[in-house]
């Protein structure tokens, strides 16, 4: 039974032995912990994710990071160098391909070979495990900014071992956020355990004088996720990570579309993550926020996409996110070219630069939305603690089982899948069908009232068609969907 308890070193090392056997690249001298500590200690501050985030937070700036990953090593390196040089990326990613995410390293190997043969990437990301420590270290050497693995991998233990030993100083993911939106049948017990391992590794490095960053994956399914739901997951994963000794955490949030709700969500996220970490007894964890540019379906027109990307950047700036993940003009079509990626980066950078020091001023509307989100998060976390009988890991497992927490449009069968989000008339994301979500009656009433107001104004019925219209809406250039019939 999974529990929110620090993994003992013995257990960790025992599992470790198995993990390193999962693929031949697990057998590498740099994966000796003493060796990897030495390597990580050689990372200068400007290439350390955790340090660069601390600096940015202090200066109050918003730094930017693209998504990027291709099958072949050299091509991947060229891509990252290009994004650093021409895109002014402050952080670089390596987005991992989907076979690796599902631990299908043979498929990934085929993908690399086929890509070599055809001279173009047939994988949707960088197969880091197959390239191993040697390949990943070459990537590290080739760039001048911190590196992070970005993926969606339920069991990322071997991947994490390899990238950390390769001096990549941040890793995205978590036992919930890289399960429910990214898998169908893998149990939460398993994925929480897997991610406790990943966090324990980071904690171990910290005990040995190395601060690495970890980033629970905020946007979940990226599709009309109500802020309180994604914030709750981020807070829980932060607690789980902190228990394993992680000290530098970035909590993420994906743009919803209404600027006040988005700024409120960012502020509530930071405040409540700090609050709950302290409440649960984790004192010295350094928290930053990450804002994801619109994660749902994108408009196909490239100028429209630029508008959306830049609008998102305005929100990140006004909401004082420390990092922003950028999108590109190719989003609706496919993996972007490096040129398209740079366009998205530059437009984003321009906006956050102009907004340096500018914040959305405090106001009644903003404060009300912050309070609303906080109330909902409190309600959800209370329920989770309750069904976990005090243990938050156990609580999450049970809460999903009972649908007390429920993520819209998630592919996982562990997810209740009964809630339907929709926008209110201002474009704020609310919940139309509440399923069994652990909201107080007052909160439920609030959501109903907000959506009834929209139905009244738009002269339409409360139905799933509202949700569908809203899913299509932004890609069609409006925020609040209007009825098709």
């Amino acid at each position: 039974m999974v529990k929110n308890e620090k993994m003992s070193m013995e257990e960790f090392l025992e599992i470790r032995e198995e993990v390193l056997l999962q693929w031949p690249t697990g057998n590498h001298p740099a994966l000796n912990l003493e060796e990897s500590i030495k390597r990580l200690k050689s990372v200068p501050p400007h290439k350390n994710f955790a340090m660069k985030l601390r600096k940015a937070k202090k200066e109050g700036v918003t730094l930017i990071q693209p998504r990027a990953g291709v099958a072949r090593l050299n091509e991947h390196i060229e891509l990252l160098q290009y994004l650093e040089k021409y895109g002014q990326a402050d952080f670089l990613p390596s987005t991992i391909d989907s076979y690796t995410r599902h631990n299908r390293y043979e498929n990934a190997e085929d993908g690399i070979k086929e890509s070599e043969k055809q001279g173009r990437s047939l994988l949707n990301g960088f197969p880091a495990v197959n390239h191993g420590v040697d390949g990943c270290s070459k990537v590290y050497e080739a760039v001048n900014v911190p590196l992070q693995a970005r993926h969606g991998t339920p069991d990322a233990r071997l991947l994490s071992e390899i990238i950390n030993a390769s001096m990549w100083t941040s890793n995205e993911g978590g036992g919930i956020s890289y399960n429910i939106p990214y898998s169908k049948t893998i149990s939460l017990e398993d994925t929480i355990k897997y991610w406790q391992y990943v966090d324990r590794l980071v904690g171990y490095y910290y005990e040995n004088g190395i601060e690495l960053n970890r980033e629970p994956y905020g946007p979940l399914t990226g599709t009309l996720v109500p802020p309180s739901i994604s914030n709750t997951v981020a807070i829980i994963e932060s607690i789980l990570a902190a228990e394993q000794g992680v000290k530098n955490i970035s909590v993420g949030y994906g743009q919803g579309g209404n600027i006040v709700q988005d700024v409120a969500a960012l502020r509530a996220l930071e405040e409540q993550t700090n609050y709950y970490l302290k409440l649960f007894g984790y004192e010295d964890v350094f928290i930053t926020t990450v804002f994801h540019q619109w994660m749902g379906g994108f408009p196909s027109n490239e100028a429209d996409a630029m508008g959306l990307i830049s609008y998102a950047s305005t929100v990140a700036g006004l909401g004082n996110a420390t990092k922003m993940i950028t999108k590109t003009t190719h989003e609706s079509e496919g993996i972007p070219t490096k040129e398209a990626n740079v366009q998205g980066l530059r437009a984003s950078k321009m906006v956050v630069n102009l907004l340096k020091g500018q914040r959305m001023p405090d106001s009644k509307e903003l404060q009300e939305e912050i309070n609303q989100i906080k109330k909902e998060v409190d309600s959800l976390i209370r329920a989770i603690v309750k069904v976990g009988k005090g243990d938050i890991a156990q609580g999450v497992v049970n809460a999903f089982k009972e649908g007390l927490i429920d993520i819209p449009f998630a592919p996982s069968e562990l997810n209740n899948g009964k809630i339907l989000p929709a926008r209110d008339i201002d474009g704020k994301i609310r919940i139309l069908a509440l399923g069994n979500i652990a909201f107080t009656d007052e909160i439920k009433e609030f959501h109903r009232a907000k959506l009834e107001e929209r139905a009244r104004i738009q002269k339409r019925e409360l139905s799933i068609q509202m949700t569908i219209d809203d899913i299509y809406a932004i890609s069609e250039g409006v925020l609040v969907g209007t009825t098709k019939d």
Partner: protein, 134 residues
């Protein structure tokens, strides 16, 4: 009522479009068998055999569609599904490619209808009616 099998092929977890396709086809009078995300070619074929489906609508969003769909037509034929219609849609290749080329490659692989990114299921309904009726 005609039966169609829908699902998302390969290691692909994009679930949103799949849920909408399910809803829209059902609303429009089809018996929809939805095998969901992370489905293999066998999953599609078995479901089609079991339910006597007239068409298989494969979604692939994540870019590996070209690899995941190889030999799908041959597998169908081997399983005795000679006349089944094969559709594929979503973001079926890696990157922004010339769609005419993509279509050609998938035609060659035996697909009957191939849809570019951004074609909503609502827009494909007419084709389906034409090909298998309601």
């Amino acid at each position: 009522m005609k039966t169609v099998v829908i699902g998302v092929i390969g290691a692909d977890v994009h679930a949103v479009g799949n849920k909408i396709i399910d809803y829209v086809l059902s609303e429009n009078g089809y018996n929809v068998v939805n095998i969901g995300v992370l489905s293999s070619q066998e999953d599609f074929i078995n479901a089609a055999i079991e339910t006597n489906a007239k068409a298989i609508l494969i979604s692939s969003l994540y870019g590996h569609g070209e690899m995941d769909c190889r030999f799908m037509r041959e597998q169908c034929e081997e399983a005795g599904l000679e006349k089944i219609k094969l559709y594929v849609g979503g973001n079926i290749v890696v990157g922004k490619q010339n769609f005419k080329d993509v279509e050609k490659r998938f035609k060659k692989m035996g697909f009957d209808r191939i849809y570019p990114p951004g074609v909503k299921i609502e827009e494909a309904l007419e084709n389906l009616k034409e090909d298998i009726g309601i």
